[in-house]
């Protein structure tokens, strides 16, 4: 149903135009400059670089691997997420809330932390291997996953299975149980019920989750950069970075960016088309979602639930716990005996410990400063945009919607490259460098803010706004007294989320300004110089800052993000 907007007769305030300026300046200009480089390598039109890049077997190999790992990662994420979606949709069991909450953790974890956690947890001398070696009395580490395709797939699965779990579960929970009962009384046993009634109706959610996960894995950067461990496992994004920052071949990086952009937009297009085709009118039950099985889970059901929760905790919490534990340990003997220490934290804050001495304070200061500014900007831009698209019926509403959501489909590596190209044209950047990072982070974060705010704005019925106006409130007052109080929890959650995105952002920051000291960049460099203990200490600080932000903003686990 399309309800007329309360203020459809009113034109948006001209101040909204500054939004377009923001988008043009901080998103379309840098992206455009990257794309131009591909076709105008030396200022004049010259497609030879682009053609060479597109046709080179090396590019094709990278493209193939990018697709290959993204497909495997998507399948693996679905495999991890589907059982959880099933459990959440079918049973009411102790630990249900825990599963939901735990599935939200990867959404806010900085990728560099995930990478670090994986190295510490799954590494050859990592926590998991040492536990297994002690348990089974082995002399060799039994699991060898790091710096291989396996590590990439595993980390992508960790990162993305919550998307599958949540999208599928939210649809599954809305399928009316009466359909299942109808199918059963019509003679369909459980397995056939699943394949003929449930699975076809879950397809839109499975497809949406797959497309999203595929996109994320296709454009994944930090995980492949570190866990892939070399040119053998290079994807398009990593290659763009390598070309721009190691080979200084900007035109080739631009050409590859064009290819990446066309592909990601193509994937999005196919996804939208497929979804429209498959979308049939869902008869979803309204009202609160209730646990749909009145019969208690069977004994095997309980075992399944326990196994899944354990596996999920291991995958979600294992790497995190490993980082914190390792930051408090220090090797005593060559054999790898460890003892408790605070040495790594002391090193981070005091001088005289090599290149990473005293790195903590500037890193924290920069990260928190950038995070606060970027979150504030993202909240303003995101809220204004969602207000513009939800409340006003604009002539070019859909176009504005699409243009403003474009940062979701364009990788932050390319964005960072754009900022890098622009910064080269400015002779003395100085402090402005920090503010450019803030702008980049704000561009990356505001679509998430806009989505959160929009979903709340859409839930306020126009009749409420009309009632407030008829009771004598001006549009400004309606916003202050009716809409804003309703939006406030969502705004707080969005602000915390934007802050977390900025705090963990490494792709654009690394490509644009690798010398700026932020927490993720410092961790990245420490990993690069095999200072894992120090990296873990700084990683623990990163987790603490993240957790602090979410506590301050009092974000409940149920807020949609």
């Amino acid at each position: 149903m399309h309800l007329p907007s309360a203020r459809s007769w009113e034109r948006p305030h001209p101040a909204f135009l500054t939004l377009l300026l923001f988008l043009a300046l901080f998103f379309y200009l840098p992206i455009g400059s990257v794309l131009l480089k591909g076709f105008f390598p030396k200022g004049s039109f010259d497609p030879s670089v682009f053609i060479d890049t597109v046709t080179s077997p090396y590019t094709l190999r990278i493209l193939w691997f990018t697709f290959f790992q993204a497909i495997l990662s998507t399948l693996f994420s679905l495999m991890l997420g589907l059982p959880g979606a099933y459990l959440l949709s079918m049973y009411s069991f102790p630990g249900r809330k825990l599963v939901r909450a735990a599935s939200g953790v990867p959404f806010v974890l900085p990728p560099i932390l995930v990478v670090l956690g994986f190295v510490i947890f799954f590494g050859n001398s990592g926590l998991l291997n040492s536990i297994l070696m002690r348990l089974f009395d082995l002399s060799e580490p039994p699991l060898r996953v790091l710096y291989s395709l396996k590590a990439i797939i595993l980390a992508h699965g960790f990162y993305n299975f919550p998307i599958a779990l949540r999208l599928i579960a939210s649809l599954w929970q809305q399928l009316p149980p009466s359909q299942e009962w109808a199918a059963q009384t019509l003679g369909a046993p459980r397995r056939r019920l699943f394949f003929t009634i449930i699975l076809p109706q879950l397809m839109p959610a499975i497809l949406a989750a797959s497309a999203l996960i595929f996109m994320f894995c296709f454009t994944s950067f930090a995980i492949i950069l570190v866990l892939g461990g070399g040119p053998q496992f290079t994807t398009v994004e990593v290659e763009i970075y390598r070309l721009a920052k190691t080979s200084f071949d900007i035109p080739a990086a631009g050409a590859l960016s064009i290819i990446a952009l066309v592909l990601t937009l193509g994937i999005m297009g196919i996804y939208v088309k497929l979804q429209n085709k498959m979308a049939f009118h869902q008869e979803l039950s309204s009202g609160p979602v209730r646990p749909r099985s009145y019969n208690r889970p069977s004994k095997t059901g309980f075992i399944g639930i326990a196994v899944y929760i354990a596996a999920m905790l291991m995958i979600v919490a294992g790497p995190l716990v490993a980082v914190v534990v390792r930051s408090l340990q220090k090797p005593v003997t060559r054999a790898g005996e460890l003892s408790f220490t605070l040495e790594w934290y002391q090193q981070l804050f005091s001088s005289g410990a090599g290149q990473f001495g005293r790195i903590a304070l500037p890193a924290i200061r920069n990260s928190v400063l950038i995070g606060i500014l970027a979150a504030a900007a993202a909240v303003v831009v995101g809220t204004a945009l969602s207000y513009l698209t939800v409340r006003y019926r604009l002539k070019f509403g859909r176009l504005i919607d699409t243009l403003s959501m474009a940062p979701l489909a364009i990788s932050s590596v390319i964005l960072g490259l754009g900022y890098f190209l622009i910064s080269r044209t400015i002779p003395d950047l100085g402090r402005a460098r920090i503010f450019m990072i803030v702008a980049a982070h704000a561009v990356i974060a505001y679509p998430f803010v806009a989505r959160t705010v929009s979903s709340v704005l859409k839930k306020i019925p126009p009749s409420q706004l009309q009632a407030a106006m008829l009771l004598g409130a001006s549009p400004g007052k309606v916003f202050r007294t009716v809409e804003f109080p309703v939006m406030l929890p969502a705004l707080a959650a969005a602000a915390a989320f934007a802050f977390a995105i900025s705090l963990g952002e490494i792709n654009a920051t690394l490509v644009f300004s690798s010398s700026t000291v932020t927490i993720p960049l410092a961790i990245y460099r420490m990993i690069g110089s095999y200072n894992f203990f120090g990296a873990c200490a700084l990683g623990t600080i990163l987790v603490a800052v993240c957790a602090l932000a979410f506590t301050l903003f009092d974000v409940s686990g149920n807020t949609e993000i």
Binding site: T185, G187, R192
Partner: protein, 336 residues
């Protein structure tokens, strides 16, 4: 097929079901009661969606207590229709037949036959979202009946529809049920629906059976106050008998109650002097309500009665005293 349950019990945290349901071959039995009385629980136990804590369920001579729903051969129709939204009308109705492994040809002809039966010929390629509420429920009925079930269960099938459609569809359901001779359990909270449809009604409250009988038996001779209040409109007036352990009440219907200006108390009439509280016009007649401190009584009256009693211009500020009279033969004394 005949349905019998023995000693059927299911306990929940805040509610327990303890009732036995019987339906003779070809009979339509209504489970009637307010929401939360256990009627849907009864239906789900029979369908196998819920497992009983104890007791047994027989369909004909066969015990089905331990069978899963897909092996019971029972059709079920829901309040929310539960049509499969990703399938056409044809595929919905064919679903049960396909589970039986019927041939394509026999499925096609059976679906056509059923669409004719529910008066939706030519609807086979439509999708559920293109149907109105009434059409959806007809398709749901056809789907449940298609595999020729031994028993048909209907769970408030008409509650989501508007009043006019409800009366029309309930007649159709009854006709179809009679034509196929299908044993049917029909759950409803609508007493009028139950009265008009049923061979027999089972009135339930708090998971137990209050009374079971034909519609006429229940209407004319309710066993207790709950049934009397639930079916039709009732007057319930405390008896002036000596205080026993059980409170007893006179039960009589408003349509049997007459109104007079003075007492007509006699060996075969009881009279109550009450203050007129309200006078309501409902079309065919007026409803008068008289009250005193303890109870209220309603009576039906016509235009002539109002003129005779000089109460046509009734004013609530100065209410008249009237006598509400009932023949003893039309009252029953029931426990409350």
């Amino acid at each position: 097929m005949e349905l019998t349950t023995r000693n059927l019990k299911r306990r929940f945290a805040d509610f327990s079901f303890d009732a036995d349901i019987h339906a003779a071959e070809g009979e339509l039995v209504c489970l009637l009661g307010p929401s939360g009385c256990g009627k849907t629980t009864g239906l789900q136990l029979i369908a196998g969606i819920l497992a009983p804590d104890q007791g047994s369920i027989y369909l004909g001579q066969r015990e089905i207590t331990a069978l899963p729903p897909w092996k019971r051969n029972i059709g079920l129709v829901f309040q929310d229709y539960a049509l499969f939204p990703h399938m056409t009308v044809y595929e919905n109705i064919a679903y049960g037949l396909r589970q039986q492994g019927a041939s394509k040809y026999s499925i096609t002809s059976r679906v056509e036959e059923l669409l004719d039966l529910v008066e939706l010929p030519g609807y086979s390629q439509r999708r559920p979202e293109q149907l109105s509420g009434g059409e959806k429920q007809r398709v749901a009925l056809a789907r449940a009946v298609a595999p020729s079930p031994a028993l048909l269960l209907l769970d408030e099938p008409l509650s989501a529809l508007d009043a006019r459609l409800r009366t029309q569809l309930r007649r159709e359901i009854r006709n179809i049920q009679k034509r196929i001779g299908l044993t049917t359990i029909y759950v409803t909270h609508d007493q009028e629906e139950a009265l008009s449809l049923s061979d027999r009604i089972i009135v339930m409250q708090n998971g137990t059976i209050q009374q079971s009988g034909t519609p006429q038996e229940l209407y004319n001779s309710p066993l207790n106050e709950f049934v009397a209040r639930f079916i039709g409109n009732s007057n319930l007036v405390p008896c002036n008998t000596q205080a026993g352990s059980d409170r007893e009440v006179y039960f009589f219907r408003p349509e049997d109650t007459r109104i007079h200006a003075c007492s007509t108390e006699s060996s075969d009439t009881i009279s109550f002097q009450l203050t007129l509280k309200s006078l309501e016009y409902v079309g065919p007649y007026y409803i008068l309500e008289g009250v005193n401190q303890e109870y209220s009584v309603r009576a039906h009256a016509n235009e002539g009665d109002l003129t005779r009693l000089h109460i046509s211009d009734f004013s609530p500020e100065d209410p008249p005293q009237l006598w509400f009279c009932i023949e003893r033969s039309k009252t029953k004394i029931i426990s409350s």
